[in-house]
Amino acid sequence: MGLVLRMTGIGKSFPGARVLSGVDLEVAAGEVHALIGENGAGKSTLMKILAGVHTPDEGTIEIEGRALAFGHPLDAQRAGVSIIYQELTLLPERTVAENVFLGREPVRRGLVDRETMERTTAELLASLGEDSFGPRDLVRRLSVAQQQVVEIVKALSVDARIVVMDEPTAALAEHEVELLYRLVRQLRERGIAVLYISHRLREIFDLADRVTVLKDGAKVATEPIDRITTADLVRLMVGRELTDYYPPRAQRPPGDVLLAVRGGGNDRLDGIDLELRAGEIVGVAGLQGAGRTELVKALFGAEPFTRGEMTPRRPRSVRDGIAAGIGLVTEDRKSEGLALHQSVRDNALLVARARKGRAGGTVLQLLERVRLAPPRPEQEVRYLSGGNQQKVVLAKWLTVAPRVLLFDEPTRGVDVGAKAAIHELVRELADGGMAVLMVSSELPELIGMSDRILVLRDGRIAGRLPAGATEEAVMELAAGS
């Protein structure tokens, strides 16, 4: 198989930090090449360099033997590099076709050739078996899953030699991951090289032919997938054995009911009955659009229940929720969790200040408690890794000592090492007498952490499973098949 991508001796420094040094990477045509490593290992930087967003300080990139010019994403695009970013990169106010061809609009006689755009888009959608929307629909009107499809169409529409996928499944639910797998394999059959970046080791074993591990900005290994085990990968990434991936479940039986809902509902949820008891972790599973985020936001008071009983008193607003001793660690740290330009201190104290309450203990003690290392209260949070940012969000809630803590995708975009740390924290809080509700799209995490599992479907609770349920059982309830 011909070599599509050859990166040699790539090095890059940002003010005050060396992010990459001497990284070599080779990807062949028709190969799915996984790229893994902890956050801060340099995956994203490496990808952004390939994308032409960053310019490397040293090193060269060749695409099919031709050296790649740097400076602007356009150069990479022209060279046949196509990227699917973790955050969706679509314009809500433009049509699907306009998004697919953004920056590469076909031109006839100096004018944009709409017909071609829409025809090609329609064909590509069809080739993916997507018929729920058309080229002329506004992206604003699409569900997140549908938007992901648009992203993939966008990538396919370029005659890409190499497709880079950064955490493509981050926003997807299990069954959608299947769809993605199918797409990736399609790409492989077309002889396209795929560089697949993910935190989810399982996906890597499902998809990849080879895997390259980055650690602290350097390449530690490139191995064929069949010559390596999960344990190896984890060791290579974090440089230590993580034998027990999840902390032990609750030892003591759950305590009193701290939160109970009877027949809770609003425009997205219906007939929600649940109880959260002190000391237990309740997992919430469900497909994209099943109403998981809606559930936590309803319990928290951000998108309140309009029907049903709830004890303590049904919150009508976020402040109600907080006053009732409920906290929410949101799914999207950047847009909902943190004020990125503010210091760790200001973020950690935000909730306490909003309630005009004093934080329990000093900020340092707080950061100690969430094991933020190094604990620099004056640092702006945007400079922290995903894991550390999540710890700050957690600290924010600990200041007001909530009795119920709701987690929405607590380890989204967090690297393996930090994941473990956060899992331990969550368990600690539960053992400390808190009631925890945890939404996760990662079944292993969900099953590994939860004392019991609620499965949502179409805004209702489709079923309840005990600790240690199998992934199959969960999926069955979730998909309703």
Binding site: Q77, T95, V107
Partner: protein, 332 residues
């Protein structure tokens, strides 16, 4: 779940030309309002013993709105691109003088050339200060307008130059009830509409305004787009300056600032449903916004409302209109 994930959407099947006024169009409310106000005006005029649709009045309305209309077209482009231009007012003054003086000295065509050159240059500077020096558009264009003001104060102490009669026709002629100035406005508006709908630049203006980062990652050279938008905006201001020179028979250092073309053009644009943040809206709406203000003015004229009351009403209209748009966006 399939219906959960795959909710079929209503096809937007309106013919392309009409998409600007389609159900989804931000421009629609302003036209509804315009129709409503026109009817109201018509009744008011009748009761007040006037004739709204009289030639004199329609010509008046169009004449009064042409200059602002042209500036607003340009303003639409920069706002769509996520920027804005506070320098247009003084630019209009400057250009009117450049036009009148060049015409006095060298004739009409050189003057038009000079005007386009000067305004393009100013637009270029605006764009470069914003993109290269990375100065917020608000500050950048505010600064540039101060600089232009300085030049005006320094160089001119009153109306200057003179416009040959042949060119004054631009400001005074009519084709039937339609003033040529209005035709110029229409032409420029159409050009801009076409630019936005059918050229790559237009597409990228929407992209950059909608989300600069997304545009960049998709390979759009965002800086160039912003600069281009500013150049076009300045060119529109230039055309407005030409038109005013033709109206006034000379250039005037205060015609732009007295006209309040900076803030009024922005107001007209948002009145037309274009999002101040960029990426959403269009020229059609802006034209509607300008006409709305013009009809409002003619009502004020008919009822001889004093200028202070006018300001109060205008202020209320802006806020009310935007509140309504906010409601619509929320409703979705």
């Amino acid at each position: 779940m399939t219906q959960e994930l795959h909710t079929p959407l209503p096809r937007t099947s309106a013919p392309r030309g009409l998409r600007d006024l389609g159900a989804d169009s931000p421009a629609r409310p302003v036209y509804l309002a315009l129709v409503a106000l026109t009817v109201l005006a018509w009744i008011l005029f009748l009761t007040d013993g006037g004739q709204f649709f009289s030639q004199a009045n329609t010509v008046g309305i169009l004449q009064r709105s042409a200059a602002l209309g042209i500036v607003a077209v340009g303003q639409t482009l920069v706002i769509l691109a996520g920027s804005l231009d506070l320098s247009v007012a003084f630019l209009v003054s400057l250009v009117s003088l450049v036009a009148a003086e060049t015409m006095a000295g060298y004739g009409v065509l050189p003057a038009v050339g000079a005007v386009l050159a000067v305004s393009a240059l100013v637009g270029l500077v605006n764009g470069l200060v914003i993109t290269r020096l990375k100065v917020h558009a608000f500050i950048a264009t505010l600064g540039i307008s101060l600089i232009i003001k300085g030049v005006l104060d320094q160089r001119y102490d009153g109306p200057a130059g003179s416009v040959p009669e042949s060119f004054q026709h631009l400001g005074y002629d009519r084709v039937g009830p339609v003033p040529v100035s209005a035709l110029l406005w229409a032409a420029i508006a159409f050009a801009a509409w076409f630019l936005l709908r059918r050229t790559t630049l237009g597409y990228r203006i929407y992209a950059v305004g909608g989300d600069p980062e997304v545009a960049r990652l998709s390979g759009v050279r965002t800086d160039r787009v912003v600069v281009a938008a500013h150049v076009l905006c300045a060119l529109c201001a230039g055309m407005a300056g030409l038109l005013l020179a033709a109206r006034l028979g000379a250039g005037a250092p205060t015609v732009g600032s007295d006209g309040g073309y900076d803030l009024e053009s922005i107001a007209a644009v948002v009145l037309g449903g274009t999002a101040l943040a960029g990426g959403r809206g269009g020229v059609a709406g802006t034209a509607g916004g300008v006409l709305l203000l013009a009809v409002l003015d003619s009502v004020f004229n008919q009822l001889e409302i004093n200028s202070f009351a006018k300001d109060v009403v205008r202020g209320l209209v802006f806020v009310a209109a935007l509140a309504i748009y906010a409601r619509r966006r929320l409703a979705r």
